[in-house]
């Protein structure tokens, strides 16, 4: 059976499944990198991987540590600049983007800047980095993060990166690119999308062994729970083998 997969393997597999062949994706280090490489080695061989520091379409030999690592432009089609890739994103060339966060709200807005008050931080986090950029201009952003009541919050301590702001039409009213925004959220408990009408987060599927009660107990805001909730498919042994090939040292997947 498949039950000996790790939580990270499951996340990588679910994330990979969201990526379409022939599309482009803005990739960060860690899990997004693994997911994109898994997609390339399974259903999406022609997925274009782009890194914010300038690497475009590399043939990544081993997992990079940084998004500016030389592995991110190893045998790439272009080793360019941040100006080039951020401009491409702003002009609509980037389909998917991955984001992580310390906090998320019902509209998919993200905080990676500060816990507590901005000028008197309890915990100072790294800030936007490329997150605001990715969240602003990628057509579909995929958020991968840990879920609990301190992280799934009604009100963020700081809105670093735009989700749907305060609801339908808010992105467009703010001047953000039309038709873009959060697409899916993946946590250790389940997979979410956003309700078309309210732009609030909605449960799409729970991971194997997770109940809807678990889901709700780990969110400080009210999630939309539809009548029909699916269950995510766990990674097959073959997928797990590929994941081990991609990350032989267990840098991301763990040992």
């Amino acid at each position: 059976m498949n039950e000996d997969y790790t939580p990270t393997e499951l996340l990588a597999y679910v994330a990979a499944g969201l990526l379409e062949d022939g599309k482009s994706v803005f990739v960060g280090t860690g899990l997004p990198m693994i997911a994109a490489m898994l997609a390339q080695r399974t259903h999406a061989p022609n997925l274009l991987i782009i890194f914010e520091a300038g690497g475009i379409g590399p043939q990544v030999p081993v997992l990079p540590i940084s998004v500016g690592d030389s592995r991110t432009f190893y045998r790439a089609v272009a080793a360019s600049s941040m100006h080039e890739v951020m401009s491409a994103g702003q002009a609509g060339y980037v389909d998917y983007g991955f984001l992580g966060a310390a906090q998320i709200d019902p509209y998919g807005n993200l905080n990676t800047t500060v816990i507590g008050e901005w000028d008197h931080p309890l915990v100072r986090l790294p800030g936007s980095g490329g997150a605001n950029d990715i969240g602003s201009f990628c057509w579909r952003t995929i958020i991968v993060m840990r879920q609990d009541k301190r992280r799934f919050v009604e009100h963020l301590d700081f809105l670093t990166t735009p989700g749907y702001l305060d609801g339908p039409g808010a992105r467009e009213r703010a001047g953000l690119p039309a038709g873009s925004g959060p697409y899916r959220v993946i946590t250790q408990l389940g997979l979410y999308d956003f309700d078309e009408d309210s732009k609030r987060m909605r449960l799409l599927a729970t991971h194997p062994g997770v109940t809807v009660d678990d889901i709700c107990a780990n969110s400080a805001f009210e999630l939309i729970i539809p009548d029909q909730v699916g269950t995510t498919e766990p990674p097959s042994p073959q997928v797990r083998r590929i994941l081990r090939e991609i990350d032989p040292t267990g840098m991301v997947i763990g040992k």
Partner: protein, 339 residues
């Protein structure tokens, strides 16, 4: 001018374009001159206390650590840091007490390695002040505006967020589309430190691999200090002039500093020294540990060459070269911990 929103972050590094033009005319030499000097001399001359500084590369990729160590060695104080994509550079400068103000796109973190204990502690205790927020693209484009001699560049990122509210950007109604658009003010750092693969004695520079935002940053800099893996003959520059990323008239000082990016990564030359970065991350968990690090690796050594001996000399550097070229496996303390 109807301004829809004004970010409340402090506006650092901005100059009226006319004031900057006058500064350029008076201070940037257009003559082809031998600019080779020592790091001691360059840092003493071009980095006054209180300056706004920025580093080329990408936080722990192609960072002029040789110049950064010299800044620490000379006990520079009250510096403001452009935290464009700040990783190792800002962490050590903040920990050493050289930098006490920072505008943040990305800082206080080491990507996969986790958060930076020293600079987080400095910010959370108030020893280092965050003066404004911005995004990576936003900072990059602040430098583009400066490189173009403009007061601002528009962008469609940051809108609707606290990042913008705590930035120095303004939002106006675009007169063409009628939609709100953010204007990013130019940023001209007082001094930029940049490490390149090769340049000639005049400062004409080539870089292999991604340029990150160094094209724009070199042109935004008021003073530009170049450290280089090697100083090459002018002939090498002139035989392929389309490889020149930075022409000489932007450059104020040229210092040959082989392995000058250690322990950060130099594309096609050497990989991250994870053992050394690991030692820093471990020691910098306390102020005493950080002080111990600086005593050992900065204050007790005369110059960068002596530092290179201390971190393991030729043997260590050869190993890092092998890892970069995929000829040796990566060893890393944080990787060991995952096992």
């Amino acid at each position: 001018m109807d301004i829809l929103q004004t970010g409340q972050g402090e506006l650092i590094g901005w100059h009226d374009p006319d004031e900057h033009r006058a500064w350029v005319a008076a201070h940037k030499s257009r003559a082809l001159e031998d600019k080779r000097t020592t790091l001691r001399e360059a840092i003493a001359r071009y980095v006054p206390d209180g300056a706004i500084i920025a580093c080329g590369g990408f936080g722990h990729i192609r960072v002029s650590m040789a110049a950064i160590y010299e800044i620490i060695r000379q006990h520079k104080r009250d510096l403001t840091f452009c935290g464009k994509t700040a990783v190792h550079d800002s962490d050590v400068l903040i920990a050493a007490g050289a930098v006490c103000r920072i505008e943040v796109a990305y800082a206080f973190g080491h990507e996969l390695r986790g958060l930076s204990p020293a600079s987080r502690r400095a910010v959370e205790s108030g020893r280092c002040q965050v003066v404004a927020e911005i995004s990576n693209a936003g900072y990059q484009w602040r430098f583009l505006a400066a490189a173009m001699g403009l007061p601002f560049i528009p962008t469609r990122v940051m809108l609707g967020t606290d990042t913008l509210a705590h930035s120095s950007a303004k939002v106006i109604e675009d007169p063409f589309s009628g939609k709100p658009i953010a204007l990013l003010p130019a940023c001209y750092p007082d001094v930029v430190l940049m490490h390149v693969h090769r340049c000639d004695k005049y400062g004409n520079c080539q870089v292999d691999g991604i340029a990150v935002e160094d094209f724009e940053l070199a042109r935004a800099a008021r003073r530009l200090i170049i450290t280089t893996e090697e100083i090459v003959d002018e002939e090498m520059i002139r035989s392929q002039p389309w490889r020149t990323l930075i022409p000489y008239y932007l450059v104020d000082a040229v210092i040959e500093a082989p392995y000058g990016a250690h322990p950060t990564l130099m594309p096609d030359r050497y990989y991250f020294d994870e053992d050394h970065i690991g030692e820093w991350l471990r020691l910098s968990k306390t102020d005493e540990g950080a002080a111990e690090y600086f005593e050992r690796y900065v204050y007790s050594v005369e110059d960068f060459a002596e530092y290179l001996e201390l971190i393991g000399g030729e043997e260590r550097l050869e190993y890092l070269r092998q890892v970069e070229h995929l000829e040796a496996p990566l060893r890393a303390p944080w990787l060991e911990e995952k096992k």
